[in-house]
């Protein structure tokens, strides 16, 4: 993220809740006292991710990871989305390893929203 221009966090496309939440699945993890609070919103049409968004209370790295994750799964099958590894965002975005904890929790919120456990989409980190 070091080479990003100032204010980049305001231009992320997939952070912030949906304008109209109808038809979205939602899952929530964390809270203020945890230092990270994530709400994952996904819209699935015919087992394909039509939209994914994240509300995030956390460090700027968490916003970047959530945005990266959403962009990677939109247009993909739900089962494929369940196999995504949020830690890949660290390399892709040039984030330090310390952001790994946030990445895993954001991924957890996403997997809950996608109901990954119900469709056998789990994998080993």
């Amino acid at each position: 993220m070091a080479d990003r221009e100032g204010g980049w966090w305001s231009r992320l496309s997939h952070v912030g809740g949906p304008v109209d939440a109808s038809g979205y699945r939602v899952a929530e993890i964390g809270g203020l006292s945890d230092g990270l609070w994530v709400v994952a919103w996904v819209q699935i049409n015919d087992e394909v991710i039509a939209d994914a968004r994240f509300e995030v209370y956390g460090a700027l790295e968490a916003l970047a990871i959530a945005d990266w994750l959403a962009a990677r799964i939109i247009g993909h099958a739900r089962q494929a989305a369940c196999r995504i590894n949020a830690r890949d965002a660290l390399d892709a975005l040039g984030l330090p390893a310390e952001a790994g904890g946030d990445a895993l929790r954001i991924e957890d919120a996403l997997r809950l929203a996608l109901s990954c456990d119900a469709i056998g989409g789990s994998y080993e980190h």
Binding site: G6, G7, W9, S10, L12, V15, G16, G17, E28, L32, S33, G35, L36, W37, V38, V39, F54, E55, V56, Y57, G58, A59, L60, A62, L63
Partner: protein, 415 residues
């Protein structure tokens, strides 16, 4: 004078002020002067000249603060002055059979709190009072814990993180009535302290140069001579400063501090009025943001505004603002540790709210245009970060700050 050393607007004057150019010139002149080379403790003419410069500076500083020059002890800064006052004052009191307990406030600077911890390991009892949720220590709260076993009371004049001004006269009178020494950390205080120091009910006062446009690395402890506040030295190994602070004094810094205080005391009223106008403008600009918790009091120091931004993560806030504004989370001495301020937690702020604190501190060379720019940056960045925040969504839906952060009472907001 240019306060900002980078493109970001410098709003961290409580951490350190820029050195006044006239002071910098004074420091430089002293550094390259003939007496600047010599050790003031030396008996040769150059040494005696250096000692004379230091004594002249002592007179200058004493005049600026309304004290006797013999009451000034040069130190390396307010931290050392705090250490000397608390450790040296309490130890001497105990040695003279005048108490074995120290009383302080949980919102003091670490220089005082750590010294109190050291005293506790030496067998002193330590009473740390909690202030009200606005950071104010009611004199009654001090009165309740005082007794003839109290050797020393230490309460700062203006809190370095919140700008809260304590009722120094009332607290000092209470301490004296119980027979205790009264120490005041006035590192932030001299810019707003027009009275003669000697007229206040205090015995020991810590001073800092770099908080008032002087050079870093020098400070002083004022100690009352009538009646004498006795001290045990903390730094030993030489007879300097009447045996109370060993070590070769830094002539150039001492001369710089004296000049900074001389200039500062001359322009104190003008600077205070200017900064008060800036502060009013800042508050008016920020009032529209909403959800800014005031960490302090409206009647505190105009130079320091501390707010917690509800609904926003502290790290994100400071990182996002960092390119435009140089502000801090709290004390510069501890903010690098990345832990929420002990001051705000002592005021009952939950960790998440304390972590989202911004200390904005103002200086005399700032302009209204710069304040407007700072407000605009804060309005924009806070809105950008609140946009995706679930916490802010809850607040917009009607949740109060207290509900969201699990507080018993709704905190006071900047409005």
């Amino acid at each position: 004078m240019t306060a900002a050393r980078s493109r970001a607007l410098y709003l961290d004057y409580a951490a350190s002020t820029p050195v006044d150019p006239a002071v910098a010139q004074c420091v430089n002149d002293a550094l390259v002067s003939e007496e600047g080379v010599a050790n003031p403790a030396s008996a040769h003419p150059a040494g005696r000249a250096a000692a004379a410069r230091i004594e002249a500076a002592r007179e200058t500083l004493a005049t600026a603060i309304g004290a006797d020059a013999r009451e000034i002890i040069w130190t390396s800064g307010a931290t050392e002055a705090d250490n000397l006052a608390v450790l040296g004052g309490a130890r001497m009191q105990r040695a003279r059979g005048r108490g074995h307990r120290v009383v302080t406030v949980a919102t003091e600077h670490d220089a005082v709190l750590a010294a109190c911890e050291r005293l506790a390991r030496e067998g002193f009892a330590v009473t740390r009072l909690l202030p009200d949720s606005d950071g104010y220590l009611a004199p009654d709260a001090l009165a309740e814990v005082l007794g003839d076993d109290v050797a020393l009371v230490s309460v700062m004049s203006i809190n370095n993180e919140t700008g809260v001004i304590q009722d120094g006269p009332a607290l000092g009178e209470l301490a004296h009535a119980s027979g205790a020494l009264m120490h005041v950390d006035a590192a932030q205080g001299m810019a707003e302290w027009p009275e003669r120091l000697a007229d206040r009910p205090v015995d020991l006062v810590s001073l800092s140069a770099h908080k008032w446009y002087g050079p870093p690395g020098v400070g002083a402890l004022w100690r009352r001579l009538e009646p004498r506040a006795r001290l045990e030295p903390v730094i030993i190994g030489g007879g300097q400063e009447t045996g109370l602070r060993a070590g070769t004094p830094a002539l150039h810094q001492i001369v710089g501090m004296a000049e900074a205080f001389r200039l500062g005391s001359q322009r104190r009223a003008v600077d205070q009025a200017h900064i008060a106008r800036l502060r009013e403008r800042l508050e008016q600009g920020l009032a529209g943001i909403g959800g800014l918790v005031r960490n302090g009091r409206r009647d505190g120091s105009a130079r320091i505004l501390n707010v917690s931004v509800a609904g926003v993560h502290g790290d994100a806030l400071r990182t996002a603002l960092g390119g435009e504004l140089t502000v801090s989370a709290g004390s510069a001495c501890s903010s690098r540790e990345g832990v929420p301020s002990h001051v705000l937690q002592a005021m009952g702020r939950p960790e998440a709210l304390a972590a989202a604190a911004l200390r904005i501190s103002l200086g005399r060379e700032l302009s209204e245009v710069q304040i407007d720019a700072a407000v605009a940056a804060m309005v924009r960045v806070i809105a950008q970060l609140r946009g995706p925040s679930p916490a802010w969504r809850h607040m917009q839906a009607g949740a109060s700050v207290a509900e969201l952060y699990g507080m018993a009472d709704e905190p006071v907001l900047v409005a």
